[in-house]
Symmetry: C2
Subunit: 389 residues, 2 copies
């Protein structure tokens, strides 16, 4: 027995060693199971946290969440968009959490009405019509679960393609406040004789879409099948009649026809364009800030106004820009930025420490000492430099 | 001792359980260390294998490799491009292995000549000029290592941005046969008074670029710093004078100006466009194949001609299209496709089994039995259906 145990533990030891030191996996997220009482079934989520999520230097940050439909197809695309547009000094979107909702019964969950279609001689989509139920699950169970499990800031985006786009349009009209932004790619508006278009038109004089944002993309569709459903025509009708009316009800929207993409390829380029549209103007005028640091706050106020949601400058980003000011020898500007960080993140030892380090550079040793002491009172492991002792 | 061992093994057991069942990581690749004798240092690679790489049903497949510079910035983008354009019936590129070469000393490795630049009052790039050495490492050590370690088919792409683009252009002119395609984004042609442009012009009447392909992107660059180096002007000069001349020496190339992207954002959209250009026309006319299955081989012959590299239709894809033929009730076409798979992959038990299953559907039981027996002779675990016993 002892012999066997020894072998087993050795085995695990080597697995462990191998796992951690040799085959260093590149991990982009995790899968987790989640029971829904409303749907009476288990659902699987694919979650990807932004790189700074585990950053132990800054105060714990809070993030927007993108809820992504059909993650089996689109999860890697969304991760790429986030990684390509964040990090460094130039950020074209805030870092965000991506939550992919894996399908159990796609046509059931994504379609607002029951209808069936004959495809290659077979009746398909027979379980359709469950969108109301699925939306209830998202609103009452999933969002609260995600908000409990992760540090979220309350800004939510829903991203869906094809049937997923149909569902996102349904969510927009049924629960407009459930998400701040809706990203909709080449949606199946043709579904059930354009039922979504018809029901949307009924709301055009009453719906309140203040503060909501929609990005709608359309692909080049010339296949016979798409023609049969008048796929593109139904998207254009929705855009021309529904979205024009919804804009009068407060919706900020952008429609884009991607002539080089088809239904199968549109997701990645259009998702990239969608976040650039939603967060248009968020990228800081980095080179001007060392000269006029107040620009940073003005900039965030403007962006907050335009997306109708208050966003604070992230501590890590402001620190990087302060470092850039130091490089440009604009120490007074760096000081202003680090003071802003302390104001926004009063419990971050890191912000005090960074300012302490700057004061050493500025030869303001008494101030430096005070900042280091404040940093230590928040996080006792921080060392006070010899110079200040 | 026995007690401790028991505890340790329990610990590992729970780690193992937890690792595999609860926190299911989403893994896109692995990091590995590799010693270079030429560079006399360790290099880290980030490797991502395509989804079908571990597919145990098909015969082991062989893949093109993309060598990617600056993977810390661009690895997720390339994975997204691959995942978005492969899988399913419509494939806009072949599945490929991505090998990211992590930087040790970026300006040393990427620059063909030694030169230094004054930036914010400091001298930078002092170690520059090591591109010849780095290219030797790639050609003599890295490519052989990758070809030994993974199932590669000999088609290679080099993808570089900025300084990485400068290096890719250097590789193109110094070792044109090292890669089949070169993907170059907003390259630093300004480096050392356009030394790459000057050295390229000297080769314009002698270099042999038959069968080589280049995609060159340029971003909108209006910052003062880029102006100072005449960044865009140098790219345009290279395009107008060098690439025009190189085209006469056999180079197939495409230049694209992405007016909505800047130096920092160009990589993802331009890399997406680059593979669509390199493999232009590879996507099969899926809906026509059930009617005329010979189209499939004709199509691959044409694509092979246009990329100057013979590519075989992947077994898994052909099987999927055969399934689609069955759905369309074109059984004779499905049979032709599965026979093609047996011809191309004579050691794949799966191809025989798939054909056996088709023959059952066609009620050709004697043929079905033969195919199942052939499948079993290659892979004894395959069960012969009751019907055929």
């Amino acid at each position: 027995m002892r012999h066997i145990l020894k072998r087993v533990s050795l085995l695990f030891f080597f697995y462990f060693l191998f796992h951690n030191f040799f085959a260093q996996d590149i991990i982009v997220g995790h899968k987790l199971d989640f029971h829904s009482t409303i749907l009476d079934e288990n659902r699987t989520l694919w979650v990807s946290l932004p790189q700074s999520y585990q950053d132990s230097l800054c105060a714990p940050a809070f993030y927007p969440v993108m809820y992504l439909l059909d993650p089996a197809f689109h999860f890697h695309s969304m991760i790429a968009v986030r990684e390509a547009l964040t990090g460094g000094l130039y950020n074209y979107m805030p870092e965000m959490i991506i939550v992919g909702i894996v399908n159990n019964d796609r046509s059931r969950d994504m379609t607002p009405t029951n209808s069936s279609v004959i495809h290659s001689g077979k009746k398909i989509h027979e379980t359709s019509g469950g969108a109301a139920h699925f939306l209830q699950f998202i609103e009452k169970e999933l969002i609260p679960f995600v908000d409990r499990s992760y540090r979220t800031n309350g800004y939510r985006i829903l991203n869906g393609h094809s049937f997923g786009g149909l569902f996102a349009l349904y969510a927009l009209q049924e629960r407009p406040t459930c998400f701040n932004s809706y990203v909709v790619h080449d949606p199946s508006i043709w579904w059930d004789d354009r039922s979504i278009y018809k029901s949307a038109l009924l709301l055009k004089d009453t719906i309140d879409l203040q503060g909501r944002c929609l990005y709608l993309s359309m692909a080049y569709n010339q296949t016979k099948e798409k023609d049969r459903y008048r796929h593109s025509q139904s998207i254009l009708a929705y855009k021309n009649e529904v979205l024009e009316a919804f804009a009068n009800r407060g919706l900020r929207y952008h429609f884009e026809y991607l002539s080089k993409e088809n239904h199968g390829t549109i997701f990645l380029p259009a998702s990239y364009n969608s976040v650039r549209y939603i967060y248009d103007g968020i990228c800081l005028p980095v080179k001007e800030i060392p000269i006029r640091p107040a620009l940073l706050m003005e900039h965030y106020r403007q962006v907050s106004d335009s997306i109708c949601f208050k966003i604070e400058p992230p501590e890590g980003l402001v620190k990087k820009i302060a470092d850039y000011c130091v490089l440009r020898e604009e120490l007074a500007s760096a000081e202003k930025l680090l003071l802003l960080n302390i104001y926004n993140y009063p419990n971050s030892a890191y912000s005090y420490q960074a300012l302490g380090e700057l004061y050493i550079k500025m030869n303001k040793l008494q101030l430096a000492k005070e900042k280091f002491q404040e940093a230590r009172s928040l996080y006792p492991q921080i060392d006070i430099p010899e110079l200040l002792k």
